[in-house]
């Protein structure tokens, strides 16, 4: 069933089959939802906005609010200027956000609407803000869109107003779940470091039941904090694809030094994160974190024999799978296929960075594997057909491959449409690594139990 992928590898150049990415605007909406009292706005047809809200709602199981310019044929011929002006007026009149975050779509980009000049000439009520990001769907992926909107926040909001920088850290967390953002904040708190996180979707897309529908839940980065980010002494960008650009812009604009680290998934990347904080803020690592790390290592040792030598295929967003690949290697597993749908370079910048980074990790571990950016799941499936793996890690769309090839499957990344809890429970930090260990070992051991003959079924594994 659902096995329409032939084994024989075919070279293709006419588009994708079963994409491992989606378009920029959804990333822009997700980032914008990480500002408190912000309403994302999609400048394009209403279908785009509808799909993004639907997709976010399916992943987070929360309302995802955004407005649309509702392009019609007229707007597509004459430009969307009046649509956006009307939209700005209506958004503040009806929904009264503090900030409206406009992003473009393939349609408005192709028509060539000049968003900054439209914003300038629009009626924006006193004390309210409109920010924007260009997010053409025909470039990059949802990760690029997240990066661009985060850059837009720096561009419009961040200011350096003080002579001396504050003893404070900016954290740009990247396209990760609210639970992950909470975990990163917990670690920074435990280190005793003052910080600003933006965007921050915790408390927005994991908001508690209150019996009321709040268009703007309590969470999200405060606008005054994002403004003040220009006065911090350091920015840590977690993930080079989702976060680097904004951090670098902040460095150029406000002279806040930027450091890019891998998303802290797994022991090594979490160590790096904590060491960076310790060095820059001259703080002791509290015992609680040492204890968590020790527990993680303890568990890794207790269970390593389940993992050793197992072949794994990993796919998803580049920042996430860089961390996952590193963690899998630390367990003695063999990530033989690593694939992302996001292009592996930057627009107008160097290409092939993703392949290089991951290939280096594999080479260092003495493993030969296939690594691909801008790939699709059809290709991953073909690889697996030609060289089977013991485990598949990725988003929900991996379930077709997992079923067709009967491979244990662990869901990590975006989107996850067929399970719950992922927005709340982190995969970052030492605690997150423990959770990953649980997910991976449960998947592998459930399979051992399932496949065991009666006489081989073991009580103790």
């Amino acid at each position: 069933m659902l096995d329409c992928t032939p084994k024989e590898i075919i070279e293709r150049s006419g588009g994708v089959i079963n994409p491992a990415k989606t378009c920029q605007p959804i990333g822009a909406i997700y980032a914008a939802l990480g500002i408190h009292n912000c309403l994302p706005h999609s400048h394009g047809s209403q279908g785009c906005c509808s799909y993004h809200r639907m997709h976010l709602t399916r992943h987070f199981r929360e309302p995802a609010m955004a407005t649309t310019s509702s392009f019609t044929e007229g707007a597509s011929v004459f430009g969307g200027v009046s649509n956006l002006k009307t939209a700005i007026k209506n958004v503040f009149a009806i929904y009264n956000p503090d900030v409206m975050a406009v992003h473009t779509t393939c349609l408005s980009e192709t028509i060539g609407d000049d968003i900054p000049s439209i914003i300038k000439s629009a009626e924006v009520p006193e004390g309210k803000l409109v920010i924007h990001a260009n997010t053409p769907s025909y470039q990059g992926s949802h990760i690029t869109g997240f990066s661009n909107m985060t850059k837009g926040m720096v561009n419009y909001l961040a200011e350096a107003t003080l002579e001396n920088k504050k003893e404070r850290l900016n954290i740009i967390p990247g396209f990760i779940n609210p639970g992950d953002m909470r975990e990163i904040k917990r670690i920074a708190d435990l280190m005793g470091i003052k910080f600003i996180m933006f965007p921050d979707t915790s408390g927005v897309l994991d908001s508690p039941m209150t019996g009321q529908f709040n268009m703007y839940p309590r969470g999200g980065a405060r606008i005054e904090d994002i403004k003040d980010a220009g006065n911090s002494k350091l920015t840590v960008a977690l993930g080079s694809y989702a976060s680097s650009d904004a951090a670098n812009l902040l460095e150029r604009k406000c002279k806040v030094p930027a450091v890019t680290l891998n998303t802290p998934i797994g022991i090594k990347a979490t160590d790096n994160f904590i060491m960076t904080l310790r060095q820059n803020f001259i703080k002791e690592v509290p015992y609680l974190l040492e204890e968590e790390r020790g527990q993680l290592v303890d568990i890794m040792i207790d269970t390593h024999y389940h993992f050793h030598g197992k072949k794994v295929a990993v796919f998803g967003d580049p920042d996430i799978i860089a961390g996952l690949t590193e963690f899998i290697l630390s367990l003695g597993m063999l990530p033989v296929y690593v694939l992302t749908g996001t292009p592996g370079g930057t627009i107008g910048g160097p290409q092939g960075i993703f392949e290089k980074e991951i290939t280096n990790m594999l080479t260092e571990a003495g493993i030969e594997g296939k690594v691909k950016a801008a790939g699709d799941l059809f290709q991953l499936h073909q690889w697996i057909k030609n060289g089977p793996v013991d485990l598949l890690i990725g988003n929900t769309y991996g379930k077709y491959i997992a079923r067709a090839e009967d491979i244990p499957f662990v869901r990590v990344g975006f989107p996850i449409l067929d399970r719950s809890m992922h927005p709340y429970l982190p995969v970052v930090g030492y605690k997150g690594a423990m959770r990953l260990l649980e997910l991976i070992s449960n998947a592998l051991l459930d399979r051992v139990d399932r496949d065991a003959c009666d006489e081989d079924l073991e009580l103790v594994i």
Binding site: C4, P6, I10, S13, G14, G15, V16, I17, N18, P19, T22, C23, P25, G44, S45, Q46, G47, C48, C49, S50, Y51, H52, M54, T57, R61, P63, A64, M65, T68, S69, S70, F71, T72, E73, S76, N83, L84, T86, A87, I88, N90, A93, I94, T105, C106, L107, T110, I111, P136, S137, Y138, Q139, P208, M209, T210, G211, Q212, F213, F378, Y397
Partner: protein
């Protein structure tokens, strides 16, 4: 009809789209474009076309545009197949900046070539997206050339997102289907001579296997389903659509255009039916039997209705007793579904206090107005704040809607059922009525709502008092 209190809306343009049923005879405005800057629950032309055509199981559905449109519609329809699974794959030309500047025809030609070679399909639908409408790729020409070259039917679907709303997409899909059907024209009187007891079933997408249930009923009363549009359909079956002597139309919003066209071109008459709820199912079966004017069919129909009703009545009664007095709010895609839901809720003792659709037509809103009680709020193309306002005002216990409405209802501490793509069991026919009642009961009467206190999910008042 009395205009609903619109004072609370800062947006006066929305006033005419909302009514409270009363004595005056105002008309509800509908079928117009959404206002820029609102949180619309509506989708686009491409979405409409895609949901109608997607259940054609053995077709390659190639989305021509940047990747997003294909990503978001990858296997979300929930329509089941008894044959091919090809429709559950996601194909996109994944246009890049270069293609947008220089045109996407080359990449499209290449994509069709590769897919034709790889899958050897009989049918490829090529969907146009927003950007194609703007850069002006000649879809017709590319598809025609590819059809000829690879001996496969390649049909363009003119579904640029901005060119109207979802209904325009339904129409684009119907146009694509019409190009498939053969022969292209038929002599007048053809069907009078050779009328067989075979029908086409339009407007059922086989979500959770619903087409199969209805096919089975029809078989029991001696009628064959020639082909369903488009649930569990295939290239070969759709091609032979003219072999039927009657079209029955369930989801009129998406399929009435096709039914009219088939009447016009092939002289196949159509009947509107609905298999949602016990009364509608029974009524529709009788209507079909009457059309064929065959005593044997009529006898079998009555027998089937009697048997099936007997099977389900006790269960329905069980739920009716437990649900009577509850109030429901409805916000769905089309008018047909909204109308059926009012009846379905009546069968289990629930009153509808708010009802709206994304794309309902004027005559459907008139029917709705005739069916509901005084005081019921009727609204077109509502946004979440409107839904919230009226659901709370009217004291609804339950919302029926789609993906985006679910978390809204939950946040308000309100039960929810999905009557859209995310439904997990069939809601059609007699068995569907039982599933419907069960689902309503399982959500409305779930113990989880007990933990939502008046002040939200805070600690209940007495406990807090003790702590202090």
């Amino acid at each position: 009809m009395e205009k609903a209190k619109a004072d609370n809306f800062s947006i006066t343009e929305r006033k005419d789209f909302i009514l409270t049923k009363g004595r005056q005879k105002d008309q509800l405005r509908c079928g117009e474009d959404s206002i820029a800057g609102v949180v619309s629950q509506r989708a686009c032309v491409y979405c409409g076309a895609r949901v109608v055509l997607n259940p054609v199981t053995d077709a390659v559905h190639l989305v021509h545009g940047p990747v997003g449109c294909a990503s978001y519609t990858w296997d979300i329809r929930g329509s089941l197949s008894s044959g091919s699974d090809l429709y559950r794959f996601s194909f996109s030309t994944d246009l890049k900046e270069h293609d947008v500047i220089f045109g996407g025809e080359k990449k499209l030609t290449l994509a069709i070539a590769e897919l034709a070679q790889k899958y050897n399909p009989k049918l490829i639908f090529v969907y146009s997206t927003c950007i194609i409408g703007v850069i002006g790729d000649d879809l017709e020409a590319v598809c025609k050339a590819a059809s000829k070259k690879y001996k496969v039917e390649v049909i363009p679907v003119q579904s640029s997102g901005f060119a109207g709303n979802k209904s325009a997409g339904y129409r684009a899909a119907c146009d694509a289907l019409l190009r498939l059907i053969e022969p292209k024209t038929i002599e007048p009187g053809f069907y009078k001579e050779k009328r067989k007891k075979s029908i086409n079933y339009l407007g059922d997408f086989n979500l959770a296997g619903e087409v199969w249930i209805i096919k089975n009923y029809l078989k029991q009363i001696g009628i064959d389903v020639n082909v369903a549009f488009t649930g569990d359909s295939s290239y070969e079956a759709l091609k032979k659509a003219t072999g039927a002597s009657l079209n029955i139309v369930q989801c009129a919003g998406s399929m009435i255009y096709l039914a009219n066209k088939m009447d016009e071109l092939y002289g196949i008459p159509y009947l509107n039916v609905s298999f949602l709820g016990i009364e509608d199912t029974a009524g529709s079966l009788r209507k079909i039997a009457k059309f064929f004017n065959d005593l044997e069919i009529m006898r079998k129909t009555e027998e089937l209705i009697k048997n099936e009703k007997t099977k389900v009545s006790a269960v329905i009664q069980f739920y009716r007793e437990r649900l009577t007095g509850k109030k429901a709010a409805i916000y769905v895609g089309g008018g047909f579904k909204a109308i059926s839901l009012i009846k379905q809720f009546k069968e289990i003792g629930i009153d509808v206090v708010m009802i709206g659709t994304q794309t309902g037509r004027r005559e459907e809103y008139e029917t709705i107005n005739d069916m509901v009680d005084d005081g019921t709020v009727i609204l077109d193309d509502a946004n979440p704040s409107e839904l919230e306002k009226f659901m709370m005002e009217k004291g609804a216990h339950l919302l029926v809607g789609g993906v985006k409405e679910r978390p809204l209802a939950y946040k308000l501490g309100m039960a929810f059922i999905d009557h859209n793509h995310d439904r997990k069991h069939p809601l059609s026919g007699f068995v569907g009525a039982v599933n419907f009642a069960e689902e309503v009961y399982s959500t409305v009467c779930s113990p989880v709502w007990n933990y939502v206190t008046g002040t939200g999910a805070a600690f209940p008042a007495p406990q807090r008092a003790k702590i202090i």
